[in-house]
């Protein structure tokens, strides 16, 4: 396997220009969508089958009239332990030699297990093609020596593309620098390969708690619950069975008493 590639999105450098969002649409030829009213600059409200990069605009009023406007370019995390990949029954979702997670459109049968298996709400279903869609890290570009379109278009280097280990080292330094500058809540999200989901190949530097950015604090793949939930299911089945037996027995008892 080749060295793992990654994208590091440093939200402290994001200016919300959405060049990434447009570059993604343009390169991947994702079609026109009618936006919904979100009440802010953000469009769209969620990832869609035609929006793989999404800049989030989060207004945070502070005491004494000051405020923060948190800007964050969100994308598929290409998890080391990927829920979508685990759930895919046809093998359409594959891990590439670079460590990214890709949906092979020719193999996808549209079962949508991946849609519900993604802890981030990234994978979406396209009703025209009948298949699941998400960011591929610009699979065609990275296999031809080019970075993803979003990273290429970013004017402030908020989105950086490169080898994962290099980027993690850089991100670790950056977060320390920001903390020293007074950004007390500055933190990395998904950089730790020992952490949740085995680390994210698209990881982030956040300036506030993950929940502020609509990110789960401790995301998990649903599959991890299979064994535990199976035990619960077996237990439940046993209880239902036992209950039924008791119920029938009592019903029998009742009948007998009727005769009595």
């Amino acid at each position: 396997m080749a060295r793992t590639l990654a994208m590091f999105t440093d939200t402290s450098l994001c200016i919300g220009c959405r060049a990434c969002q447009v570059a993604c649409k343009q390169w991947n030829e994702l079609g026109q969508e009618v936006p919904e009213w979100t009440g802010t600059y953000q469009n769209h409200a969620h990832f869609t089958d035609k929006t793989f990069r999404l800049v989030r605009f989060i207004e945070e009023p502070k005491p004494q009239g000051q405020m923060a406007w948190l800007l964050m370019s969100d994308v598929c995390k290409h998890c080391a332990d990927a829920g979508c990949l685990n759930a895919c029954p046809t093998g359409a979702i594959e891990r590439t030699a670079f460590g990214t997670v890709n949906i092979n459109q020719d193999v996808c049968n549209g079962c949508r297990y991946c849609v519900s298996a993604c802890p981030f709400g990234v994978v979406t279903f396209n009703h025209d093609t009948g298949t699941a869609h998400k960011c591929s890290f610009c699979n065609d570009r990275i296999h031809n020596g080019l970075g993803p379109a979003c990273a290429k278009a970013c004017p402030t280097e908020s989105i950086q593309f490169g080898f994962r280990d290099d980027l993690v080292a850089k991100a670790t330094k950056r977060v320390a620098a920001l903390q020293a500058m007074g950004f007390k809540e500055a933190q990395l999200y998904g950089a730790d390969s020992q952490g949740f989901l085995g680390g994210l190949n698209a990881f982030f530097l956040l300036l506030a708690k993950p929940a502020t950015y609509n990110l789960p604090d401790n995301p998990q793949v649903p599959q991890r619950n299979v064994v535990r939930d199976s035990v619960f299911s077996l237990g439940s089945a046993l209880l239902v069975g036992l209950g039924a037996i008791f119920a029938f027995r009592r019903r029998g008892e009742g009948k007998e008493s009727d005769h009595a």
Partner: protein, 823 residues
Amino acid sequence: MTTNLIDLQYADVIMATSNMAENHPVGFQWVMKAKERGAKFIHVDPRFTRTSAAADLHVPIRSGTNIAFFGGLINYAIQRNLYFREYVVAYTNASFLIDPEFKTATDLGGLFTGFDPGKKTYDRSSWKYQLDGEGNPRRDPTLKDPSTVFQLMRRHYSRYTVEMVEKICGIPKAIFEECAKLFCGNSGPEKTGTITYALNLTQHTTGVENIRALCMLQLLLGNVGRPGGGVTALRGHANVQGATDLELLYHELPGYLPMPLRDAHPDLKTWLDRETPKGGFWVNRPKFMVSLLKAWYGAAATKDNDWGYDWLPKRASADAYSHQHIFVDMYNGIIKGFLALGQNPAVGGPNAKLARAAMQKLDWLVVKDIFVTETAEVWKAPGVDPKSVKTEVFFLPAAPAAEKDGSLTNTMRLIQWHEKAVTPPGEVTSDAEFVTSLASRLQKLYAGSKKPRDRGLLSASFTYGDNPKEPDMLLVLKEINGYATQEITDKDGKVVYKPGQALNTFAHMTDDGKTAGGCWIYTGVTVEGPDGKLVNKAASRKPADDKDYLGHGWGFAWPANRRILYNRASADLSGKPWSEKKKLIWWDPAAPGNEPDKKGKWVGLDVPDFNPFLAPDAKNGDKPFIMRTDLVGAFFGPLNDGPFPEHYEPMESPVRNLLSRQQSNPVAKVWKVPDQRNELAEVGSTKYPYVITTYRLTEHHLSGVMSRYLPMLAELHHSHFAEISHELAKELGIDNGDRVTVSTPRGKIFVKAMVTHRLKPFDLGGRKVHQIGIPWHWGYKGIEGLPGSRGDITNDLSATVGDPNVYIQETKAFLCNVQKGEV
């Protein structure tokens, strides 16, 4: 701009007064780099924007009070001794004595000496230096004489206290003091700061004075001509700097030469006498003017016919021909035909409703654009019966940049070449092809005319290369650059230029017809290589590196590839850098001089904006501002509205001017337009109680022609909207997403309300003033299936009023009403 965007990263403090992150996101990378280096970043804006989101400090300011803000900073720097005294004494006119008759607005109730209330102009005869016996300005280097510019300036701005700034601008005292401390505290030999501005300062009836106030602050803090300093003027779109340099303007000829006035400049000699100053680099103006005329009229231009000066059109008045004048004249039936090339005034200009009504009165209208714009379909604008419009409209499809060769000059004077990537489809042509073919057709129509006024058109050549239908753009660039019209030899008879050879520098231009050049400041952009072929420096692409952080190998920055203007000011009087940290150019006494037995030269990290062999101790060797007659930076700088910027309220304001009884700029231009098409709200109007500002968004471009037709851009904003504070929304019962009516005496529009914490009402000494904001990208054309790509025209709300120097509109601050629903 005086500086270079790359250089922003070395600033210790950056104050954006414009919305730079949203409107100049690519250039903004250098602000982020500066921040990574530890620079402080301040954003001054009525709204909390994406630029504020990146700032260490957001300073909310009521629209239209910029001079009060800058004046407050000037006063703060002087009172607390935070100015760079050595720089100010040596490199500016602070120590010059002014005519004792002159009085500032502090003594004359908001006016300066010489105001004529009848004519609404100033008699400027006392706005001048005191001269000594030899005709030089009298000076007091101690800055103590009450007649010094410094003392007059101090007195003028003494009224601009922190408390006054709070009451006028609505900036809380603590925030203003923090801002002043951060910005003024980061100057001196070891530190520099820069200020960005854009239309936020220009689009006011005090537009030019706003910018002067900014420049004065920068001079006072010693920030001009130094690394990490300067005035960062951010131009509105890709080539607006190029359009200014080549003067697609009404009052200047290419290279900032004044456009002749009919009465003041009847012949070339008068023009040269009046427009050539006695000192500074503009003493060369005759060379640039004659070379320009030679470039335009070629062999027909001779000494005997004043190089064709008579053929130039002359202005009948200085108060005419600006964008706003044109549309008023069009509405009044004076202008009958109109060519709109890549412009969409039906949406983009002030009082757009008037502009559309004016265009509907034309005999003919030609629109050349990349999409069928609102201007092209002005005859079927909403509410107009097409049958009632007699205008004949021609639409010509235009090629965008990727379909043609050419250059763009960006905000930092950087000329960058672009090559044609694809051939335009069908009958689409470039603007250059259109202009040259139109000109040659007109020449055929006028062939044989003996009228003197047609001589110019018939003498000019519009052929560039072998194919008259397809101009070779490199040859256009060469004409702009300048070339020898005949062999030029040096004093020893050695050939310096062959006939037709491109000039290397504007220093070689002459006023005897031996050189031609279409825009002197661009000279050097293309030169002849050793093989005799043209080397196009605008196409060079060597990125900046550690040895050349300013990237002199990338494109060509006018003039002479200088990246930071007035950079002599980066060194002290003796020619040494003010500090090691802030070095840029310096005098090297050991370097070989310009003659074999002489030593000494200016060297360093940039091309000196100075005579490279003029020693610091030589006459004028310590005067960096070479474009000015007196060679120093000007605190005292007479404009039509005064030698010092003074705060006046916008033409429409919710409050009285607290600084003086003079409510608005006394010499501003207010057009009288028939049919109640330019009515203004009164001061403190109850019918129109809210301040409104208009602006752009990152996702859209200007009037939307390059963005509303592209789904991936147009869908990024749901639809046209107004940003409204929670406080105002609550007062009016408006919820986020409600349709609202925004109206002014000129018009009304329906938009969605975006209720946000990013706008807050201003507290002006106990009085609450609400401000709303509306972007102006929308119009009645757009994309099928994307209803939000169409919307009402924001500029229907703005007025036809102008700054008295350049007649720019006041679209950043006026009054409106907001009502819930479509009223």
